[in-house]
């Protein structure tokens, strides 16, 4: 069975695959950074009494979380050119989409993190005269972020896997690169297996790090 496999095509297509992988990683890093920033703002908006703004944040998060990422990818790919008037390309569209989409998921994590900080901490911040932003920035968010770090990273691993869905709009990520290489050399089976192995090694490695981190945080507490 496996004897029919020809793994020499993998070496030949390595530079090509590398480019795809780089895009997947770039997409992950940008979406993670932007997602955590916007997600934290969304969480703060939901937890503060801001009337319509809090409501809008709640709706945004719930909406994003109840439709498939694939549909969100298709939506943004369709709508962004309608708004901007020019096509922005699959890669850029993917970056905008993932940042907006992941913000909803990160915001739920940060919301739980903020809520896990006892109310007395906020009181103590206020009591020494700090305002809302100072109390958030110096007291609440650093603790919330630290408590939630393993979960934020786990979400990032999921995000990295989800980047493979840009396949649907033809952005050239790791999976797409593997598929194209597979077609070029007429060895799709080998290339799919190779892509799967790369995903597995990265995700497994990262989740191992998260596990170690979790143990360390558990000790510090």
């Amino acid at each position: 069975m496996l004897s029919g496999f020809d793994f020499s095509v993998i070496t030949a297509s390595l530079p090509f695959i590398r480019e795809g992988l780089l895009f997947s990683v770039k997409l992950t890093v940008i979406a993670m950074t932007g997602g955590i920033i916007f997600g934290t703002l969304l969480a703060m908006a939901r937890l503060a009494n801001l009337g319509p703004l809090s409501l809008a944040a709640t709706w945004y998060v719930n909406l994003m979380r109840s439709i498939p990422l694939l549909m969100v990818i298709l939506w943004f790919f369709l709508v962004i050119p309608l708004i901007t008037g020019t096509p922005i390309g699959a890669e850029n569209s993917a970056i905008v989409t993932f940042t907006a989409f992941e913000a909803a998921y990160y915001s739920e994590i940060m919301r739980a993190g903020i809520q896990s900080i006892p109310k007395g901490q906020v009181w103590a911040g206020y009591a020494i005269g700090m305002n809302y932003w100072q109390t958030m920035g110096n007291v609440v968010l650093p603790q919330a972020f630290r408590n939630m770090l393993p979960i934020l990273l786990t979400q990032t691993i999921i995000l990295f896997q989800d980047t493979s869905l840009v396949y649907a709009i033809g952005a050239k990520d790791l999976l797409k690169a593997a598929e194209i290489a597979g077609k070029n050399y007429n060895r799709p089976v080998e290339m799919y297996v190779f892509a799967a192995i790369i995903y597995f090694v990265i995700c497994f490695g990262l989740s191992y790090i998260v596990k170690r981190l979790q143990q360390r945080i558990a000790i510090i507490r």
Partner: protein, 244 residues
């Protein structure tokens, strides 16, 4: 001269009325102890003074500033009023020194090294010089509470609020905190202290307020309160608490 004026304030948590038309005042340099059974509203009352809890009726004036006026700059007001909490509420992700310095840097705008110098002096004063670079989690409860007092003092407050500062402590640590508070009182700090430590009240308080079910039942000079409390509730409370 009144430092803290509390004028007929009422507060509700939903349907439940936590404070019922409470009126009292704390003069400059005065030490006032607030006591009463649990759930009597004493912690809520003290948190209203620096607006950590909003009130629905009445008025509180601190050093001439109307606390409940929407135009009042609350962070500024709070920086003038020091507060010590039942559960210390030190910031666990910062060292002891940074805990004391944070407000000085972020609120008073002091330079970090200047703030650190001042913090070290204050830590020395509460007897914790050697623990400046530890994290709160590495200290005992009594030590943490002394850091919390240093943190409040670092803002050069015009008065101090203590919300049951010793009730989360093991008995053997209570005195190390009370000693610091007694010292403060003797230096003339204006203090409003929610506590069950009647020894502290007898030693340094000028007045004692007794609360029950959200209302101020007694508000007397210390000697009168301990000598002959007028209300039956206060008599019962005292007999229970002084018994041991």
């Amino acid at each position: 001269m009144a430092m803290i004026e509390i004028k007929s304030i009422s507060k509700w948590f939903g349907q439940f009325q936590a404070l019922k038309e409470c009126t009292t005042q704390v003069d400059k340099g005065e030490v006032v102890v607030v006591c009463g059974p649990s759930g009597s509203g004493k912690s809520t009352l003290i948190k209203c003074v620096n607006a950590l809890e909003p009130i629905q009726q009445g008025e509180i004036i601190v050093d001439g500033i109307r606390v409940n006026d929407p135009k009042t700059d609350l962070p500024k007001l709070r920086s003038l009023v020091g507060m010590v909490f039942q559960h210390f509420e030190l910031f666990p992700h910062m060292t002891v020194l940074d805990n004391v310095s944070l407000g000085q840097v972020k609120v008073l705008g002091r330079k970090p090294d200047e703030a650190a110098e001042n913090s070290k002096k204050l830590l020395h004063r509460v007897g914790l010089s050697h623990h400046a670079h530890k994290h709160p989690g590495q200290l005992s409860g009594g030590q943490q509470q002394r850091v919390a007092i240093a943190r409040a003092l670092a803002m050069n407050p015009i008065c101090m609020l203590f919300d049951e500062p010793t009730s989360a402590l093991d008995p053997e640590m209570i005195n190390e905190v009370l000693d610091v508070m007694v010292e403060l009182a003797q230096e003339g700090m204006t203090m409003m202290v929610v506590t069950h430590e009647m020894g502290f009240a007898k030693k340094v308080a000028h007045r004692v307020i007794f609360m029950d079910a959200g209302a101020i039942v007694e508000d007397d000079k210390k000697e009168e309160f301990f000598g002959s409390p007028r209300s039956e509730r206060a008599q019962q409370f005292l007999s229970k608490i002084l018994h041991h």
